[in-house]
Symmetry: C2
Subunit: 239 residues, 2 copies
Amino acid sequence: MLESLFLNLGQHDSLSDEEQSLLGDLMAGERSFAAGQDIVASGSRPVYSTLILDGLAARYKVLADGGRQFSSLQVPGDFVDLYAFLLKTMDHGVIALSPCRVILADHSKLRSITERAPHLTRLLWLDTLIDGAIHREWIVAMGRRSKVSHLAHLFCELFVRLQVVKRTNGMSFHLPVSQAELADVLGLSVVHMNRVISALRNSGVIAWANHTVTILDWRKLQQIAEFDPTYLSMTREPR
Amino acid sequence: MLESLFLNLGQHDSLSDEEQSLLGDLMAGERSFAAGQDIVASGSRPVYSTLILDGLAARYKVLADGGRQFSSLQVPGDFVDLYAFLLKTMDHGVIALSPCRVILADHSKLRSITERAPHLTRLLWLDTLIDGAIHREWIVAMGRRSKVSHLAHLFCELFVRLQVVKRTNGMSFHLPVSQAELADVLGLSVVHMNRVISALRNSGVIAWANHTVTILDWRKLQQIAEFDPTYLSMTREPR
DNA sequence: GCGCCGAATTATCAAATGTTAGCGCGCTCT
DNA sequence: AGAGCGCGCTAACATTTGATAATTCGGCGC
């Protein structure tokens, strides 16, 4: 059941049997959320952190004028709020964009891992660092890429991340979001989001129908996006 | 000399004498950089992490069309690349925006801290988590705030962060950046950056001259920015 | 099969933002 | 003192993006 987690953490450095069993002991208490439900509420002080087993979730913040901005997308094998273990108070919410199955990690158990399993601690720390690296990449995309390039970059990133946890199907992956939700990722109006999607479609590099994105020309998509996966740290080396 | 670091880490939880001495032992090898110099090069694999003692630095990425985007600003007491300890390869650069005095932390020593000092490890981890929280706040600002509000938010954030490390002077702080550099923070053209700055000035909440920002109306600035400092985790509690 | 509803798409116009160019100020170098 | 230069600032115009509204499309229940 924790296969996604093992694939995710294990891609960066090898996980010993003991570490796998520590993780098995850590993760307990499966839950499900319907699309649109909050997985973690803004302002709360969680006593456990949440790992996605299945589904798509997003961190978000809502401003006074009602505008919503997603600050990340979370796929199976991702901790959505591992940082709450140390940050204590959630300054934003996490919402299920599709039906989500999750499993919980008690903060007290996480703490004892930091006391007793330094290497596993470093891997969990690394997981949050990659989170940060993705944030930085998003900032660059929002600030200086064209909107089409930004969208292309997002698709590249999602494809690679989903591939790691075996959720791609050839060059396709499931993307259960509406154009309005995607607009809240890129920070655009729905109308303009639609224009940007049309442009990327018309360039012939992707197809998107029935909540499924298909990459028709991976090389060209990468070029449009200037995608360099270095920031995802997908090499296995001692950490 | 490490006062800024102690102020920074110590604001979240108390640092024992032993931890302070571990940090003193960790940080060694002072260096200086002129404004405009790279402190850490993109693509490099650092063997130490860098702490700012004095000056202003920024993480950045340059795109193929020459556009530059800063993904963070770093003030005294900040590690600019603590994450390189685990991420290994820099996927972006770090530049000195003003003359910078820094001090280094050997990755081998950092590693031994994770093996022997769990609480200090958690505080260092926390430091990188706050980094991530700031990134998320920037994403929200870039996506859904008006440009004036974004700028106001940035000033609120800088003021509060600088206050922690005692680098404010009343309601003023030193901001040694040109409007062009600030444009690379917000992701705007220089011309529009100038318009936005003028608008915020004209609203009477800030003054900015001689590289010094003065907050004339803190309450109103916060309102414009919808600034809520929760994400900076400025409460001292067990971590 | 029919009608309803949410989502996608298009059209039109308005506002925000970018581009290019130029001016002026204050600084430094000679 | 004069020239050069970086930087702030403004103007004029082009392009991108947003707002509003209408139309189409597709799934789903009756």
